[in-house]
């Protein structure tokens, strides 16, 4: 008999509807599995066990009470939340010692939408400190281990959420993507991860890192499951001035572009950018992603080369803009209003000591870079120039989407690396995001899903990038792929 945690979100929906099991059963099964496996994985920073069980009982009662009327499709389904999004009453540390003990008094809008739809928050997942990193090694509370190989990282920064889905703790989880922090861990953990269009999902209650780049995204085991979560949380929010007033279409995964069932992607043009073929990409990644593009072709898509000429500048642009914005955003952590305060004689010493002692190395490094790039005499040369080159990168995408509907590329140059591999080389870590950063700079959405394994049985991800607000197209294409392949249903042996 398969255990309840083996079920995908859609299978859970079916079982809850038929009464085969209750939401309480699902939550209890999740908590049992977490208790058993967390000592070796460490995907969670905080668990909400008793509270989640209570909410599950309420969801079951609601379902019984409304047996004649339809209930929300997400009612009673467990979900995990990255620890940079607030959930009222649950700790929110952002993986940092500077927010140790902080209990937010309000819930992020994205999470609020999910709980209003009936989802049950199981806990808060591990992240690189303030989402700065590509491995969760920068968490002040210890690394998360990749469920496919415990000696390797799960990717990051949303590594806890990706691992929680890959390990079959929960069928879905929320993450955030500022430079690849949903897509790269999705690739490393063999799950489906959606980075939404900038402005598509409210950021109210998301602790800000790079305000012109931050997006909220979702993980699931399939595009179908991710679509359900995305649909529930997307849309304009008056509490976030940067959330777009663009209608969210109902996503019909079966209705891609083609009319014939065997050619669901008929008429879809997918561009393969030549600039994403770079030395240093692992052969298995090249091979598996090329094979995946062949599958998309067999499903009816027309594959053609496309050019994004300024791709090589994305990394330097990102490592000016993101740290600059981070240095401003993280100025609020000063030991005055929340979080711990270092003992000090006067106020300036409170600032210097609290920040000096409580920010970790990568956050400190980025605050330093950002402060320098914004300082008098250097602003034009660094931040100003980066903003202009960012325009060129955005125009590359706009021009490409005149010719093609989607862009396909590897999500990351390699598969999951060993814990500690980049410990002394920040630039090597930054290079992990070379294929994901451009979409954040342009603001366009992207999705990563598993398209095979390398010789060490580590997952390989394919990334599709789409035009603004076309998450529906990304999800349809990934869904079509997952209808004819079974990589996404493979589970790590744990």
């Amino acid at each position: 008999m398969t255990s309840l945690t083996d079920l995908s979100l859609s299978q859970m929906q079916a079982g809850l509807t038929s009464g085969e099991f209750s939401s309480r059963d699902l939550v209890q099964a999740a908590l049992d599995r977490i208790t058993r496996l967390e000592p070796s994985l460490h995907a969670f920073l905080h668990l909400a066990g008793p509270r989640a069980l209570k909410q599950a009982e309420a969801a079951d009662a609601q379902r019984k009470g409304q047996s004649s009327r339809p209930v929300s499709p997400l009612l009673g389904i467990p979900v995990a939340i990255k620890d940079v999004l607030t959930v009222e009453g649950l700790p929110c540390t952002c993986g940092s010692k500077i927010l140790e003990g902080f209990i937010p008094p309000f819930t992020a809008t994205s999470v609020q939408h999910l709980t209003e739809a009936g989802m049950i928050v199981i806990g808060k997942t591990n992240t690189d400190e303030f989402a700065m990193g590509s491995s969760t090694e920068n968490s002040a509370y210890g690394v998360t281990h990749n469920p496919w190989d415990l000696g390797r990282v799960p990717g990051g920064s949303s590594g806890g959420s990706a691992a929680a889905v890959a390990a079959r703790y929960v069928p879905a989880a929320l993450g955030t993507d500022t430079g690849g922090s949903v897509r790269q861990p999705a690739s490393f953990c063999g799950v489906t991860g959606l980075k939404t269009t900038y402005g598509r999902v409210s950021r109210y209650g998301l602790v800000a890192f790079g305000s012109s780049l931050d997006t909220v995204g979702a993980f699931g085991r399939s595009a179908q499951d991710v679509a359900a979560v995305f649909s529930a949380m997307a849309g304009h929010d008056p509490l976030d001035a940067t959330s777009a007033q663009v209608a969210v279409p109902a996503i019909s995964l079966e209705a891609a572009t083609g009319s014939k069932a065997e050619m669901p992607l008929g008429g879809l043009k997918i561009g393969v950018p030549k600039e994403y073929s770079i030395p240093g990409t692992q052969p298995a990644v090249e091979e598996m992603t090329r094979a995946a593009v062949d599958v998309l072709k067999a499903l009816g898509a027309e594959i053609r080369p496309v050019s994004l000429p300024h791709t090589e500048y994305a990394l330097p642009v990102y490592y000016i803009i993101a740290p600059a914005e981070a240095s401003a955003n993280l100025a609020r952590f000063d030991g005055v209003r929340y979080g711990p305060r270092a003992p000090a004689r006067d106020m300036p010493e409170v600032f210097y000591r609290t920040r000096g002692e409580r920010f970790g190395p990568e956050v400190t490094r980025r605050i330093m870079i950002g402060t320098y790039a914004l300082s008098a005499g250097y602003y034009d040369a660094y931040y100003g120039q980066a903003q202009k080159v960012r325009t060129l990168i955005r125009r590359d995408f706009e021009a490409a989407f005149q010719e093609v509907d989607l862009i396909a590329a590897p999500t990351a140059p390699g598969t999951a690396f060993e814990i500690g591999a980049h410990a002394n080389d920040p630039l090597a870590m930054y290079l992990e995001d070379v294929f994901t950063l451009p979409a954040n700079l342009a603001g366009v959405p992207g999705i990563s899903f598993n398209v095979g394994f390398d010789q060490r049985n580590l997952p390989v991800g394919l990334q599709l990038i789409g035009p603004y607000f076309r998450e529906d197209l990304l999800l349809c294409a990934a869904h079509a792929y997952q209808q004819v392949t079974d990589w996404h249903v493979r589970a790590p042996a744990l």
Partner: protein, 95 residues
């Protein structure tokens, strides 16, 4: 581009970060290395290119500037390291 020790002190002061001597040496080396890498951007002629300031959002609407309810003071002070009489309490700003 190598940063000087004085520049590292200056940046740390601007950022209100107390660094140890070891950290100063390490960050001086690492930041210089990172700045060398991002100097690549200067190769591009951007004289006629407008900057992208937001995240690609073309329309953004402002809400009416009116008062809205907020969380109660008591709730907001619950996370404060120190408070008194409905206010955040801090050490002296000046000696």
């Amino acid at each position: 581009m190598a940063l000087t020790a004085q520049e590292i002190d200056h940046i740390a002061r601007l950022a209100r970060l107390q660094l140890t001597d070891e950290q100063k040496v390490l960050y001086r080396e690492q930041l210089s290395h990172i700045l060398d890498y991002i100097a690549k951007l200067r190769q591009l002629d951007t004289a006629n290119v407008p900057p992208t300031a937001g995240g690609g959002l073309t329309q953004m609407e402002l809400r009416p500037d009116g008062s809205r309810p907020s969380l109660p003071t008591k709730v907001l002070l619950e996370n404060a390291p120190d408070s008194e009489a409905d206010q955040f309490k801090i050490p002296p700003v000046f000696e």
